[in-house]
Symmetry: C2
Subunit: 328 residues, 2 copies
Amino acid sequence: MSTLTELYEPIAVHLERVRAVVDETIGSNAPAVDRLCRHMGRLRGKMLRPVLLLLAGQACGEVREEHYTLAAVVEIVHMASLVHDDVLDEADVRRGEVTVNRMTTNEMAVILGDFLISRAFLLCSRIGCRETREIVGSAAASACEGELVQLSRRGDWRLTEQEYLTIIEAKTAALMAASCELGAIQSGADARTVRSLRDYGRSFGVAFQILDDVLDIAGRQEQEGKSLGSDARKGKLTLPMIHHLAVATNGSAERLLAYLKAPEGQDRGRLRQWLEETDSLDYARRLARERALSAVRSLEPLPAGPARAQLRKMARFIVSRPGHSDCL
Amino acid sequence: MSTLTELYEPIAVHLERVRAVVDETIGSNAPAVDRLCRHMGRLRGKMLRPVLLLLAGQACGEVREEHYTLAAVVEIVHMASLVHDDVLDEADVRRGEVTVNRMTTNEMAVILGDFLISRAFLLCSRIGCRETREIVGSAAASACEGELVQLSRRGDWRLTEQEYLTIIEAKTAALMAASCELGAIQSGADARTVRSLRDYGRSFGVAFQILDDVLDIAGRQEQEGKSLGSDARKGKLTLPMIHHLAVATNGSAERLLAYLKAPEGQDRGRLRQWLEETDSLDYARRLARERALSAVRSLEPLPAGPARAQLRKMARFIVSRPGHSDCL
C-alpha cells in the first residue's frame, strides 16, 4: 500500500508553493492574530483539497500560478471549517496539536474562523474569471448547508441512508468536487473533462466522509490524532448506525437507541461490537469502496498519464486508510 | 431631531430593492436552513451599511443595479457577524426577537454565520471589478482582526485610548468606510471623492462604535432591544472605562478594577454613577461628536446636494441616538 508521502511526491514542489501562498494569506500585522494563524499553519495536515486541485490541473494540462492561488483558497476555507468544527466538538487536540479553542477561547476560535474565510475570499477575489470565483463561493456555502442540515437532524433516529448521503455530499464532497473542477478549468480543460473531474471529486468526497465516519467508531485514537466517538456522543447518526438500525432484529435497534440517548455512559468498544454483529461497519466500508471505484471510473474519458494514475491511486488510498482493514 | 424613518425616506425605494436581494441571497432549498435565514431577515434592523453605500452612491451619481448587489453583500457580512456576536455574548434577544443561538444551538448559529458569509462572497464574486471585490474582502477580514485583538485584550486593564480607537477602527469602522467607498466607486467617482467618502465612513464608524459602547453602560435596555452591560461583564474595556482609569483619584480606579474583576456582582447603575463622577461618559460622547463632525467635514469637497445633506444628517443622528442626552 502506498503512503501519503509517496502519493504526494510527484507534486511536492507544487505543494510547497501552495503552502507559501497559504502562509502569506493568513498572516496578520496584529501579533495576537498572527500567533494564532501560525498555530493554524501547524494544524494544516494532509492538504487533500490542494492535492486534488493540483492533480486535476496536471491531468488536464500545465499547473500555473492561478492553481496555487486557488489551491490556497480551498485549503484556507477548509482550515476555517476545522477551527469551527473544533469549537462545536469541544475538541482539545487535532493532529496531535492543541486546538485553537483550547489554546485560547471559543470566542477567539469562532472569530479566527471568520478571519480565515474572509482572507480566503479576499485571495479568491483576485481571480479574474467569474465562473471560478462562483465555484468557490457555492462550494463553501454548500458545505455550511450540509453541516446545518446535519446539525438540525441530531437526535433524529429516523435519518435514512439517502438523507445521510445527501448531507455528506453537501458537507464534504462539494468542496472536493469544486477543487477538482477548479484545477481542470484553470488548465483550460473542455466542459466534458471538467465534468469528469468534478464527478471524480464528488465520489471521492463521499467515499472519504463515509470512511471518516467509520473511523470515528472503529479507528484508533492515537492514529487519527483527534478525539473519536463524537458522532454517537452528539446524536449524529452515520452510515454504520443507520444500517444497524435498519437491519437489526431482536431488540438490538432499541439497544443502540438507548445507547445513543445516554451519551455519558457511552463506550466505543461496545458500539463497535454491536455494529459488527450486523456487519454494519463492513457495509459502510463497502459503500465507500464503491464510491471510490466510481471516482476511478469518472477518470476514464481523460487521457492516460501520470496525473490520472495518481488520482486513481488517491481514490484507492482513501478507502484503505489506517483503521480500515481492507485495501482496494 | 430627525428619526431614522425620516432619514431613510429619500432612499426608501432603493432600500426595498436591497432587502429583496438580501432575501434572495440568503435563502436555502433545505427547509431547516431556510427557516433560520428567514428568522435572520427579521433581525435585520437598521441596515445602516446599505444606507451609507446608497447615499454615497447618490452623492456621486446614479444608483445602479450593482449598488443593490454590494449593499446586500455588506449587509449580509454584517448579519453574519451579528449571529456570531450573539453566540459569543450568549445573548438571548436582539432587536426584540429571540437570537439564533437561543432559538437553536450555538453550533447551528456558528455554522449559520459561516453560511451567510459564504453567500455574501458568492454574491460579491459576480461583481466584475476586482478592486471592488477586494475592498469587500479586506473590510471583512479587518473586522475580524479588530474583534480578535479586542478579545485578546480582555481583562487587560492597561488598554490605552489609542489602542481602543485602533481596535474599533478595524472592528466597526472598516466595513462602514468600505460601504461608502463602494457606493462612490460604483457611481464612477474620481479618486479624491472616493477618498473623501471613505474618510467619512471611517469617522462615522468610530463615532458610532464609541456611542454604542457608551450605550452598553448608560443606555436603556428596552430602548436598545438587546442585553446591555456585557462589556464590563466580559472584561472588555471601552472608552468611558479607559478614561475613568486614567483620571480617577483617591482609589476610585481600584474600585472600578475590583468591579470589573467580579462580573457576578456587577450592577450597571453603580458603574454609570462612578463614570459620571469623572465625567467619563461625557468625555466619550464628546469624542464621538468630534468624530461625527470630522465625518461631516470629510464631505466638504463633494458637490452640495440632497445626498450630501443626508449624509451630514446621518453623522449628526448617530451621536444623538436615544440614550445619549446631547444632540449635535
